[in-house]
């Protein structure tokens, strides 16, 4: 696994990318590389999300871009200019922090005026701009409050408008919604998305929450182990994961392991460990005899399938969970008792019982043969 799936310019040539990481490596202790050979191009106006588990190197990348951590190797460009030796305050990058980082000893107005003040903007213009930035997040009435007097969601909005008030072309967001409750988080996702669309700024967003990434991004870079595992649009990432890590990290995923017995063009035949034989989409296997992990989304599993399904297997129902809009069926399929199927609740009476043996099936194109 390496970052070779992305469309970065590993050859070092300058292209029209707005932000460009070229062969960037980062180590804190000289023994372990936290970021390994990162190549990433970000277009102007793009909303790109760095998604990955904690310790995957995504925040380090953001900190290198912001200028708070030097890159150990490689170069970072903004607008074609190398920024390796430009200090953070001269980079002109807006930033939203996880804990908001609103200055507690200043009012909301003073917080927003701070970036304008250090830019020596005259008072009247600054006031106008602060007001406009606050109105953008519907917080105009809060200009004289202190950060501590605001709720988490309100603080988040202020942090957002403060990062935008000096009209930067690039805005970095480091898990900005991490501290909010679920409902507010979803609401803010849409709000950030709309602000991005209206202003046309380039956004680099870091999160470990996959649904957040899927909701907002133009493209998502999935990080693991210091390497971009896949860089693609949200639907591509979900529909066509390139490897087992991405498949597991994005969305829910049923796993079946086996060995490739035949390759026919874009599909392959896989013999499961318990003897069953399946057709699967060939994604990340190369030769007959390779071990493979088959990945299958729960909502693509059909219960009591029609006979024209490519793959049909026996299943024993282990557990039924009623979730309102759908019913989660946990069953044992080919030795995997964590196999999940989502049955849409259409109101018709489903005769499913725990312990019952049924048949499940799916189309071979939904079953991805990935690296084991």
């Amino acid at each position: 696994m390496s970052g070779n799936q992305n469309n970065g310019s590993a050859d070092g040539s300058q292209n029209d990318a707005y932000v460009s990481f070229q062969r960037v490596q980062k180590s804190y202790d000289g023994e372990i590389l936290v970021v390994k050979d990162l190549n990433l191009d970000i277009a102007q106006g793009e909303f790109i999300t760095m998604l990955g588990p904690s310790g995957s190197g995504k925040t380090t990348c953001l900190m290198m871009l912001a200028g708070f951590e030097p890159a150990t190797n490689g170069e970072i460009f903004i607008g074609g200019r190398s920024i390796n030796h430009i200090p953070p305050h001269k980079r002109g990058i807006g930033m939203v922090f996880q804990n908001y980082a609103l200055f507690p000893h200043m009012s909301i107005g003073e917080n927003l005026a701070f970036p304008l003040e250090v830019r020596k903007m005259n008072k009247a213009d600054a006031e106008k701009q602060v007001k406009r930035a606050l109105d953008m997040v519907q917080m105009g009435d809060f200009i004289n409050r202190r950060p501590a007097q605001l709720s988490g969601g309100q603080q988040q909005r202020i942090a957002l408008s403060r990062a935008l008030v000096f009209e930067p072309e690039l805005v970095l967001m480091d898990e900005p919604l991490g501290a909010l409750d679920k409902q507010l988080r979803e609401h803010m996702q849409y709000e950030i998305k709309h602000i991005h669309e209206n202003l046309g700024v380039t956004v680099v967003y870091v999160t470990h929450d996959q649904s957040e990434a899927l909701t907002m991004s133009d493209r998502i870079a999935v990080f693991n182990d210091g390497v971009i595992q896949q860089l693609s649009s949200p639907d591509d990432l979900y529909e066509r994961p390139q490897n087992a890590f991405v498949a597991q990290f994005i969305g829910e995923n049923n796993k079946l392991s086996g060995t490739v017995t035949k390759i026919n063009g874009d599909t392959c035949t896989v013999k499961l460990d318990d003897g069953g034989v399946l057709e699967a989409d060939k994604v990340n296997v190369s030769a007959v005899g390779d071990r493979t992990l088959l990945s299958l989304r729960p909502e693509r599993v059909e219960i009591d399938p029609t006979s024209d399904m490519d793959d049909i297997l026996d299943a024993k129902i282990e557990e039924l969970i009623y979730l309102g809009d759908h019913i989660r069926v946990r069953m044992n399929v080919a030795g995997n008792d964590e196999f999940i199927a989502k049955v849409r609740n259409r109101g018709e009476k489903r005769d499913l019982k725990k312990g019952q043996t049924i048949k499940v099936g799916w189309s071979s194109s939904d079953c991805k043969a990935l690296d084991a």
Binding site: P88, M95, A101, F103, F114, P115
Partner: protein, 429 residues
């Protein structure tokens, strides 16, 4: 649909009632009584200790600074009759008689605090050089058995003819006196009983108060300069390293104050380590070694060292709570490192800075042992003068008056601090 609305129950007085009809406040008091009693019991030892060891002594000190009964104890009858004197000429014969008889009685007296010596000491505070007059006269008065007492007394010593002495005696026999505060502020009574500045030679207290405040301010300022970067480092380092360094900071706390101070003597004396090194490097010659101790310099160096942890700890505890993202946010918004520090970091450390400043300054103005050991004559602080009056001169009232003034200075500082920063913002860590 069932009606689940809860209606508040009230009695005639408009008090809320519980479901059982007992007033809510009463019921609450009953249910929390045990907890309150336990809390009281747990704090009782400390409260008693504080009253015995702190409130009572301070009350005693305040009392003693204005109360001195040496005069009325020795001359009980004279103390009453002299108060009617109009301070014109000499007191009446009756007053002289009371004085002589009181003196004769006191001569036989061996009760502590009621001897002629006590009186002589007390008068000597106000009119230096009168001590021998009292002891000599006391001896000779034993032979005087009948009047006129005025002439008899003046025959013993001409000084008894001086109205100024009798004005002083009238003052001294009053138990409550502002004299010690006047003395502590470098004032005295003249022969006519008016308040005037003390002789220049005796004006030592006010200048010493100023010196104490000045030295304390210097020491506080130096500790801020030294402690701020160290605290910042401690707060940003990983826990393991910062704990190690913290132990080094706290190490002085585990060593006796006396040991640390004497260590400074070993280092700073003219034949000490610091001078040896300077001579060795060649910065100074062997014959003009620097006097670094037994003066203000020595006091400052040793006290800065001893008080440094009191500045580091509150600063550290405040800095630890400031996430690095504040500075980063400021930098990302275009602030230079210095601007970010001045506008964002420094204001947030103010509670710790203020607590450390207050702590160090107040400890410094009351510091005793270090200036006593390394201060020489020049580096003595007000506490050393207080100790002198309590231990050597035994003028406890003057010591108490000086102590009370020191206490008032501290209280004023607290008040000022509360006005400027707000005592609720204090963070001692």
């Amino acid at each position: 649909m069932t009606d689940v609305a809860f209606k508040d129950q009230m009695n005639e007085a408009g008090e809320l009632l519980t479901a059982d009809g007992v007033p809510l406040k009463q019921k609450l008091a009953i249910t929390t009584r045990r907890a309150r009693m336990r809390a009281l019991l747990l704090t009782a030892p400390l409260i008693i200790f504080l009253v015995v060891s702190f409130v009572i002594p301070i009350g005693q000190m305040l009392f003693r600074s204005v109360y001195n009964a040496a005069g009325s104890n020795v001359l009980p009858n004279f103390a009453v009759s002299i108060q009617d004197w109009d301070e014109q000429g000499l007191p009446t014969e009756q007053m002289f008689e009371d004085f002589v008889k009181d003196m004769q009685l006191a001569r036989k007296n061996r009760i502590t605090g009621k001897t002629v010596g006590n009186l002589a000491t007390r008068v000597n505070y106000e009119i230096p050089g009168t001590r021998s007059l009292f002891t000599k006269s006391s001896r000779k008065l034993s032979k005087v058995t009948e009047g006129p007492y005025k002439e008899a007394l003046i025959k013993i010593d001409k000084k008894w003819n001086d109205p100024g002495l009798w004005i002083a005696l009238k003052r001294v026999t009053k138990d409550i006196t502002p004299y010690f505060y006047l003395a502590a502020l470098d004032y005295k009574y003249d022969e006519k009983g008016d308040i005037v500045a003390a002789d220049e030679l005796y004006q030592i207290y006010v200048s010493n108060f100023w010196k104490t405040l000045r030295l304390s301010a210097t020491i506080t300022f130096i500790t801020i300069l030294l402690a701020y970067p160290v605290s910042y480092l401690l707060s940003t380092l990983p826990l393991r390293t910062s704990n190690m360094l913290m132990i080094l900071v706290l190490l002085p706390f585990w060593t006796s104050l006396l040991v640390r101070t004497t260590a400074w003597i070993a280092i700073l004396q003219t034949e000490g380590m610091a001078n040896d090194i300077l001579v060795f490097i060649g910065i100074i010659g062997d014959d003009n070694r620097v006097q670094m101790i037994y003066n203000q310099t020595g006091t400052i160096i040793a006290m800065v060292h001893i008080l440094l942890p009191f500045m580091i700890l509150p600063l550290f505890s405040v800095m630890k709570t400031i996430p690095p993202s504040y500075m980063r946010a400021a930098r990302s918004m275009g602030a230079t490192p210095f601007t970010a520090f001045r506008r964002i970091y420094l204001p947030q450390t103010l509670p710790g800075l203020a607590a450390g400043t207050l702590l160090v300054f107040i400890l410094a103005i009351g510091f005793y042992i270090t200036p006593a050991l390394v201060g020489g004559e020049d580096g003595l602080l007000i506490s050393n003068l207080i100790a002198y009056h309590i231990q050597k001169s035994l003028n406890w009232s003057l010591g108490a008056a000086l102590g009370t003034i020191l206490l008032i200075i501290v209280l004023v500082l607290y008040w000022l601090y509360n006005k400027l920063v707000g005592i609720d913002k204090l963070s001692f860590g």
